[in-house]
């Protein structure tokens, strides 16, 4: 199979843009202007600005505008050339040959060559970028550079998802002439980056702001339009909204649901809904059942919990509409793999949940609680109660989960923890009954789905297989999916996987989350991904 990548680069594409003042056209939205400054609020200080050595969302948000990937992804998650002009796929998907763009220079004037790509992968990405290292790193055999404009990736077996893992989020390219021979984690350029991206570094005041200036030599004609982008650190979401309303900032990466409705009514703002975030895309809030615990041995109990969850209520009352009910284990954002018509997928049905609990041997008492009567591995008379571990920031999920399960006689004990302690408790100590995690699927199931289900990922790696689910059939199907190149056939394999998953229910997939970017209506031309301001403009 030979495929030519399109050389078209995404220009400002608004995925779903809804104007607040319907009927009144926003003059700013259709007349791009040159010049001006955009001030964007970011939630945390990134600490450093090299996106190749981390998957931290804070670092990627603050740094991606300064870098490029070989490709970028369209709003439909299709790869189109960025640093690569085009590419050939040979050997049934085991060899990728990229033809690099002519005349690209680093911000310091040095030319960009294939050696930079080889260096970025071999010395940095495959060592320090956890997602790329875990997926591409395991499948890759070698990288070669036949000439300055060509780079070849050879895989041990056909590897279909590769082009989706080459954007600035998954594989930013960094300069060899700056990083060669140094420790990439300690290089001073991490604080004064040199990239190829639409904006170049100007200054970084830790905890306060990062200033970027227009790259006049950017390889896309007419871009960027803005003279300057300022990323201002404002940790509190409520303060971000106030700063936006006061006109101190022009762009928020996200806004709490309750404020969103108010901003929509107030007018003067534009909105961009997206399931893409610098830290990951296509995220599903997922309940994990610890299959090592006796209480979750019986699939009927797991199914009862899943059936007692009213996902729509999570969409309405926790997300305030910024998301939708998950209909399958794989996100609807991965079109070819998403199977939304599986009959085994639990949907809210209180009576069915009660019946399942009765059948599993959890019998209702006079006071409404349930106790065990003949449940395997649990002494009779034990009350039905289990822990629910969660990030402190997900408290609303915990409260609603507890309330919904109390309705069918299940007692839930909430155990909120900070993220790093959570990772330790759940993945290292495995000291939990159930939990909720935002599992980001990424652009391809190989990136963010597989880690949740294959038995090789049970263990101490954070945000891998939390349920400790192990099914040889599922393992071999994931192997098959990885080496299947035809999207239709791959989709069929993923469908089979999901059919098994909704029967086994090691997890329950509650809601797919979205973020809503909000920006001042005097600005426009934004896109959803890392290069959000590449083609943006602001009228002064």
């Amino acid at each position: 199979m030979l495929r030519r990548g399109s050389a078209l680069v995404v220009s400002a594409v608004l995925l779903v843009s809804c104007s607040t003042t319907e009927g009144t056209p926003q003059p700013a939205a259709d007349s791009p202007v040159q010049g001006g400054t955009l001030v964007a609020a970011i939630s945390a200080d990134p600490g450093q600005l090299n996106p190749a050595i981390t998957t931290s969302g804070d670092v990627h948000t603050a740094s991606e505008l300064m870098y490029n990937g070989l490709v970028s992804l369209t709003p439909d998650r299709e790869p189109v050339g960025e640093l690569a002009e085009s590419w050939d796929v040979e050997d049934n998907g085991a060899l990728y040959r990229f033809h690099l763009r002519e005349g690209v220079t680093w911000h310091d004037g040095e030319p960009f060559t294939s050696a930079d790509v080889k260096f970025s992968f071999e010395k940095v990405l495959l060592k320090y970028h956890s997602r790329t290292a875990a997926s591409v790193g395991q499948a890759l055999e070698s990288i070669s550079t036949p000439d300055e404009r060509t780079v070849e990736f050879r895989f041990k077996e056909p590897y279909a998802p590769f082009p989706l893992q080459l954007d600035v989020t998954e594989a930013p390219i960094i300069p060899e002439h700056i990083y060669a021979g140094t420790d990439p984690l300690e290089n001073p350029a991490n604080l004064e980056p040199v990239g190829t991206g639409p904006f170049a570094f100007e200054s970084y005041k830790p905890g306060a702001e990062i200033r970027l200036v227009r790259n006049p030599d950017y390889f896309i004609d007419g871009q960027p339009l803005l003279d300057e982008v300022v990323l201002r650190v404002i940790p509190d979401a409520e303060s971000q909204v106030i700063a936006l309303e006061a006109g101190e900032v022009d762009w928020l990466f996200g806004v709490p649901g309750a404020d969103l409705a108010r901003l929509e009514e107030d007018g003067g703002f534009e909105f961009l809904r997206t399931n893409v975030n610098p830290g990951g895309s296509n995220c599903i809030m997922t309940v994990s059942f610890n299959l090592e615990k006796p209480v979750f041995q019986d699939v009927r109990t797991r199914r009862a919990v899943a059936t007692a969850i009213n996902s729509q209520q999570f969409v309405d009352r926790v997300l305030f509409g910024q998301g939708k009910v998950a209909e399958a284990p794989i996100s609807s954002g991965i079109d070819f793999a998403h199977a939304d018509d599986l009959s085994g997928m639990p949907t809210y049905d209180k009576q069915a949940a009660e019946d399942l609990l009765d059948a599993a041997g959890w019998i209702r008492q006079g006071d409404g609680t349930r106790v065990a009567q003949g449940v395997q591995g649990i002494p009779d008379g034990t009350p039905l109660s289990f822990g629910f571990t969660l990030f402190t920031s997900f408290a609303a999920y915990g409260d609603l989960f507890k309330a919904q399960l109390a309705d069918v006689g299940i007692d839930v004990e909430l155990d909120p923890q900070e993220p790093d302690i959570f990772a330790e408790t759940v993945f290292v100590d495995r000291d939990f009954d159930s939990n909720i995690i935002s599992y980001c699927n990424g652009a391809d199931p190989e990136i963010g789905v597989k880690r949740m289900y294959v038995s090789s990922t049970i263990g101490p790696v954070p945000f891998s297989n939390a349920a400790a689910y192990s099914n040889p059939m599922v393992d071999s199907l994931f192997d098959q999916a990885r080496t299947t190149v035809d999207p239709g056939e791959r989709g069929e394999v993923y469908r089979q996987i999901q059919e098994i998953l909704v029967e086994d229910l090691p997890y329950f997939w509650v809601v797919e989350t979205e973020a809503t970017r909000v920006y001042s209506s005097r600005c426009g031309g934004f896109s959803q991904a890392g290069h959000f301001a590449e083609a943006a403009y602001c009228r002064q």
Binding site: E238, A396, A403, L414
Partner: protein
């Protein structure tokens, strides 16, 4: 504030009321009445929470973010839970914490203070050095550390606050005891052959009562604020409803749903105000009678 037991302690003269009577007299003045009423209300609401609350405070009971209505007098939160029920159960959690801490403080503070002041000598030195060591510990941060280390929970909060809040009480009780033990009526009791126990319980204790009462009121008000602050920082027991936690949840919706932060905040204010007024009027009793 300074304590001048001399003025209040003339138990032999019938014209002057006993310390207990002085407290009662003070409590019938406006500030005292308000303080006593508010505190009594807090205790009643806490004790009778299951009967007073319209619903389970965790149940999804109404629409999301409904303003105060007849069916939800304090409105509902984002998840549709009744705020009034939350406030009532939050008061219960506060009451449990405050009573637990109060009991520990009372027992330890009084014992250490009286033993130290009445016995004196090396025992006094040992106890007072220990008290000083505890007194310099920042209580709020100690509570934070305990919650961070052992996870949030009302039981450990009561223990850590109870074990660290008594030094002030112990020191004041000790100084009172030191000055009282040389007074004529104590000496008189001693020469009549009264046992140490009898002197402490029948002669010393009634005269310590106003001071203890005042300090306990102030201390419990502080504890209530610490409990609320921890809740506000999201460090309260996640399975119990806390006024501070409710207020912090409300803060996220401050501009769309004022009732979420206002009512729990008001409840904290009322409870702390009640305890302070009560303590204050009892303090007046010791100062002016």
């Amino acid at each position: 504030m300074s304590f001048s037991p001399d003025a209040s302690l003339k138990p032999s003269e019938p014209a002057v009321a006993t310390p207990g009577q002085q407290i009662m007299r003070r409590l019938t003045r406006p500030a005292g009445v308000i303080g006593a009423t508010l505190t009594l209300a807090l205790i009643c609401v806490g004790l009778l929470a299951p009967f007073l609350a319209p619903t389970d405070p965790r149940a999804i009971d109404g629409p999301s973010l409904s303003p105060p209505t007849a069916s939800h007098p304090m409105g509902t939160d984002a998840l549709g839970r009744d705020v009034l029920s939350g406030v009532i159960y939050g008061a219960r959690t506060s009451l449990i914490t405050v009573s637990g801490v109060g009991l520990l403080v009372f027992l330890i503070g009084i014992t250490v203070g009286i033993v130290s002041g009445y016995r004196g000598g090396w025992l006094d030195d040992v106890l007072m050095r220990g008290t000083e060591a505890l007194q310099v510990l920042p209580r709020f941060f100690l509570a934070l550390v305990v919650v961070a280390y052992f996870g949030p929970g009302t039981d450990r909060l009561v223990i850590v606050l109870g074990l660290t809040s008594w030094p002030l009480l112990a020191r004041v009780v000790r100084s009172q005891t030191l000055s009282l033990r040389r007074r004529d009526f104590i000496e008189a009791a001693r020469t009549q052959g009264a046992s140490g126990y009898r002197i402490v319980v029948h002669e010393l204790w009634p005269n310590l009562l106003p001071t203890v009462f005042t300090l306990m009121g102030l201390l419990t008000a502080q504890v209530l604020l610490i409990e609320a602050s921890l809740g506000f920082l999201g460090l309260s027991d996640p399975d119990a409803v806390s006024l501070g936690y409710l207020a912090s949840e409300g803060q996220r919706f401050l501009r769309v749903a004022w009732w979420l932060a206002a009512f729990p905040g008001l409840a904290i204010l009322v409870a702390v105000l009640g305890l302070n007024l009560l303590a204050d009027s009892a303090g007046d009793a010791t100062l002016r009678a």
